[in-house]
Every structure is written in structure tokens, then in C-alpha cells.
Amino acid sequence: MILTGPLVVRAEGFTPPGPRDFDLPPLGPDKTFEMFGQTFYLGVTKPMIQIVIAAVLVFAFFYVASRRRAMVPGRLQYVAETGYGFVRNGMGRDIIGSEQFLRYVPYLFALFFFVLVNNLFATIPFFEFPTFSRAGMVYGLAAMSWVVYNAAGIHRHGLLGYLKLQCVPPNMTGLILVLLVPLEFFSNIVVRPITLALRLFANMFAGHLLLILFALGGEYLLVHGEGLVKPVGIVAWLLFITVAFLEVLIQFLQAYVFVLLNAMYISGAVADEH
């Protein structure tokens, strides 16, 4: 109780980080224009640059690694092959099934490393901003995966067959279908891309917000704190480092989960009728 007194008083001068910290100023021309009733910047922002760098990095790495293929792989080729095998076997073959997974491996493979590099940008010095903490960046990916899994299902079953597979649960007859079909449609076709996008976005957003909070809070306690409160700032910074390592794990896990769910949606769409 003694400690909380000064802390609460001090907290009034501290501005906690919020969603506004993610509105980075645009680089380039500082002009705005109106379209669809929204105000757009003419310049580019940091996440826009990062998303392009990530695409170029992933392409360049795997292009260079696979250009000089050898029977006995070199160091670079070994790393590339391990990464490829991880996605191909762990997510493609095990989930979609050995009959038709090969067609979707390029998509899953590119998606995984693209998302992974973009997430790791939150930790890499000089970038230190997760691209997908801006929701707009993720909506594009989610829309793409929505098109991919629906197109895969329609290609295999035809439009009506696919809708039946996704919306009509097997071994159900009668009036309960009136209740179940709209629910299944809503859950399998409408909500999936939304949760897919929100999961990746919110994880990156919350993780980065947490890091900002520890960094700013530690700085505030150390500079403006009085007496015994000052050392708490150092504890906050130690926690910052710990949480930063936890974030690396979460960044990898979220890329994995994103692609895993993509593979599961595809597998559900191309599955034979049960």
C-alpha cells in the first residue's frame, strides 16, 4: 500500500502507449487525397516498405539457394531445403493428404516464409515494427486465402457440391437443417477469413504494444520516479528483454498457425464427401 501511493500519483504524468503509436508518419510527399470517402496519404509508410522488402528477401533467398542445386547440398541449400521440407511435409502432406497436397505447397510455402519474415521484422534491428500490426496489411492475405480455399473446393466439387460439403453436416435430416445450414455457412465461409486476419493482426499488435509499454514505462520510472521507484524501471527493462524473446516465439508460432489454418481450410474444402 505504501508503494502504490507514489506510483498512482506519478502515473498521472505518464501517457500510456495506444493504437496511435502505430500510425507512423508517411515517407515521401506529404499530400492527401480523397477516395471512397476516406483520406489517403500519397506517400508510403514503413509497413508498406517492409512488406515489399519481405517479398524481395524471401524470393531472393530461395532463388539463390536453389540456383546451384547439388546432390550433396551446400550450407545454403540445406537451410532452404529444411525450410521447404518443414512446410511441405508438416503442413502440406500431413494435413491436406498425400493425394492432392502438391498443388498447394507453393502457395503454403511462399505464404509461410512471407508471413514469418514480416513478423520477424518486429525483432530485427532498424525495422523493429511488425508489418502485420497494421490490420490493412493482413486483410489482403486473408482475402487471398479465402479465394484459394473456396476456389480449391469449387474446382473439386463444383459450386453446389462444395456448398453442400461446407454447409450441410452429414447424417442430419429434417428441421434441424434449417438451423444448422445458415450457421455452418456463416462459420465456414464468412467468419474464417475474419478470424484468420484478426488473429495475426491482434497478436502482432498486442505484442508490439506490450514492448512499447515496457520500454516507455521503464524509461518513465527511471527518469521521473522518486527514490525507491527508480530501480523498478530497470526491472521493467529486464522484463522488456524477456518479453522480446517471448515475442520471437509468438512471431514464429503465428506464422505457423496462419499457414496451418490455411492448409486445414484447403483440406476441408477438397476432402471427399463424408
Binding site: 493504437p19 493482426f201 505457423y256 498457425v257
Partner: protein, 67 residues
């Protein structure tokens, strides 16, 4: 002391997914301890369950900022 009541609401809302994720990984650890060779299959299922339970917390944090 000022702040947003939404965040307290989010903290309460995160209890459910927290318990859920704990149960999922408890079951996963149990399964692997009983049958280590099943780890590959169980891992996929565990991660899927984790992702689904986590979605609730994620929707919560999104709404905490939006509302």
C-alpha cells in the same frame, strides 16, 4: 488515476480463453507422455485447438480497442 474500463473488461474476457488454452495443452502433454510416438499428430491438433481458443481472446482485444 484514469484509464479505459474496456481494458478491465478485456482482462475478464481473457480468463475464459486462458483456461481453455491451459486445458488444451494439459491434454496435449498428457497425450504425449502416454504415447510419445503420437506427438506429430497431436501437435497439429493441439495447435489448432490453441488457435481456436485464442481467437476469442483476440476478438476481445480487438473489441477492447474499438468499442
Amino acid at each position: 488515476m484514469d484509464g479505459n474500463l474496456n481494458m478491465i473488461g478485456y482482462g475478464l474476457a481473457a480468463i475464459g480463453p486462458g483456461v481453455g488454452i491451459g486445458l488444451i495443452f494439459a491434454a496435449y502433454i498428457n497425450g504425449v507422455a502416454r504415447q510419445p510416438e503420437a506427438q506429430g499428430r497431436l501437435q497439429t491438433i493441439a495447435i489448432l485447438g490453441f488457435a481456436l481458443a485464442e481467437a476469442l481472446a483476440i476478438i476481445g482485444i480487438a473489441l477492447a480497442f474499438v468499442l
